[in-house]
Amino acid sequence: MKSTTISLKNANFIKNTKSINQRSQLSSFLMVLPQTIGFFLFTAYPLFWAIRFALYNYTGVVTDTYFIGLQNFVKIFTVDIKYWSALLNTFLFASLKTGMEIPFALVLAVLLNQGLKGSGFYRSMFYLPNIISIAIIGVIFSNMFGYFGVVNSIFIKYGIISSPIDWFSTKPKAMIVLLLASVWNSFGINVMYFLAALQNVPNELYECAKLDGAGRFTMFHKITVPMIAPVFKIILMLSIIGSLNTNDLILVITGGGPAGKTHTVLSFIVKNFVPGFADAKVNIGYGCATAVLTAIIFGIITVIYNKLSSKLSDIY
């Protein structure tokens, strides 16, 4: 009975406001108008533009622009070794980086979650590198790992090496610097995420387990891990996606060198097809094809990851 009166009231209300409904629809829409314009101009249009020109030979010159179907893609798949080696290197970089920073961040978060005094201070210090511009981080690490840099001179001082290392002369050494800079930049954010997750685990669970005589490791294994598993999935995904998308760090520190071997796929695209980094005349159409293909590959990785991780969560 009561519910009918309420709904009647509601109907009445709607009737009364119908005249201003039109106006309020318009105001609602006006408030999202700026971003709607932005969406069509700077998201949708560029997307379709890039997909369209991926099917063109397009160097920016009108007379040199013509439809070539899937030929750009055929070329990527058949001849372009550099693209695939950049892609492989991206996977290498992403797996090494994620493999380093996630366990490290988890351990730090667990340590900080012990209720120590001053853990807030440590937490903010760990996060500090994350607020610094990637470009500046690039400059700082280039300086520190330079031939006459502080790392070499400290290593020599303590007898670890006898002569300075040229960190940017070979791929493995350059990758070490890139990984260190990248992990330094972002491990703090993962510490934050893990801490937030750990603090959401109800304390009663630990208290009960303690009463049952469970040890620290049993509690970690049986309570902490399953409780943070859903968030862990997200943190891991963010880390993987973030490291797959690394590009400015590489552009600043190595510029892809030596001989383009440290490029990730995104820095490869920028270096080869984007004004200011690439040569003056490039095949933009081909660049669009590499960008579209990369977006598809990253999309597939995300889907696979979600499938796999939901299977994993069945186990837990």
């Binding site: 700077f42 560029p46 533009w49 006459f148 590009n247």
Partner: protein, 283 residues
């Protein structure tokens, strides 16, 4: 048992402190290096504190014509401020509209906006950007990029505001409506003042993002060095041939570039953290 526990805690502190020292070292080293002469940077990198501290790098940078810090700072400042202000305003408006408003196609629009999170063609899209901006006679300039950034969809921010507005009691709007406020004036008179905490979060995140921005400002100012932002100019010094002779300028510039975000972090620490955790894990 008790002694063992104290021992463990001491070890814990030592481990954490060592890691903090390693974390802070690059920042500290940069600050210290900015007070060294260029020859000292090259010859004695291992001395943690400058042997003969000098302010020369800062004065040189201030007077230099190709690395005109005053101009660079000004460019960075207006670039950042305009983007921060417009991001706060437009994200709040959109978040409020998606939470409380209704118009035909609203759901579809939010879905479309959300897709922007997943589809990203990267930097190749500067070509279509240039096309549109040329049409608006803005072309390749910092102002062109500002226009792109003002209108770009900040979907995470929209969700942050939408969540926040949803947590406010609806009676507020209804009371204002009875008093004769329209949808838009309810926002500006009633809701917007209540959104200050979430606006601070969004503001600080977008401040950090735009102040630190490197790739896009570089591309947009390639033909206009006078429009470069600080970050772009410091990095450009590195890629020029005379890089080795400019470390002092680069380090001094880096310190100046880091300082504003550092201050913002010191003051608004909790907003950084709340934006981070609510944006990624709850939204």
């Amino acid at each position: 048992m008790k002694r063992e526990k104290i021992f463990l805690i001491i070890i814990l502190y030592v481990v954490l402190t060592v890691i903090v020292l390693f974390t802070l070292f690059p920042v500290f080293y940069t600050i210290s290096g900015s007070f060294k002469t260029n020859s000292e940077i090259m010859a004695h990198p291992e001395s943690i504190l400058p042997i003969k501290p000098t302010l020369n790098n800062y004065t040189t940078a201030w007077k230099s014509t190709d690395f005109n810090i005053g101009l660079l700072l000004w460019n960075s400042t207006y670039y950042t401020l305009i983007i921060v202000a417009s991001t706060i305003l437009f994200s709040s408006m959109a978040g409020y509209s998606f939470a409380r408003g209704y118009f035909k196609g609203q759901k579809l629009l939010l879905t479309l906006f959300s897709i922007t999170m997943f589809i990203n063609l990267g930097t190749i899209t500067v070509y279509p950007f240039f096309k549109i901006l040329n049409f608006l006679h803005l072309g390749k300039s910092l102002w062109g990029l500002i226009v792109v950034r003002i209108f770009s969809v900040g979907i995470v921010n929209i969700y942050l505001v939408r969540g926040y507005v949803n947590s406010l009691p609806k009676e507020l709007d209804e009371a204002a409506q009875i008093d004769g406020c329209g949808f838009i004036s309810i926002f500006f008179k009633i809701i917007a003042p209540l959104l200050l905490p979430i606006m601070a979060t969004i503001g600080i995140l977008s401040f950090q993002g735009s102040w630190n921005d490197y790739l896009m400002p570089t591309i947009f100012t390639i033909s206009n060095p006078s429009q470069r932002t600080l970050i772009v100019a410091i990095t450009a010094l590195k890629s020029t041939g005379s890089a080795a002779s400019a470390w002092n300028l680069m380090l001094a510039g880096s310190v100046i570039a880091i300082l504003p975000v550092l201050v913002a972090y010191a003051v608004g620490n909790r907003y950084f953290i709340s934006g981070l955790t609510s944006g990624a894990l709850k939204g």
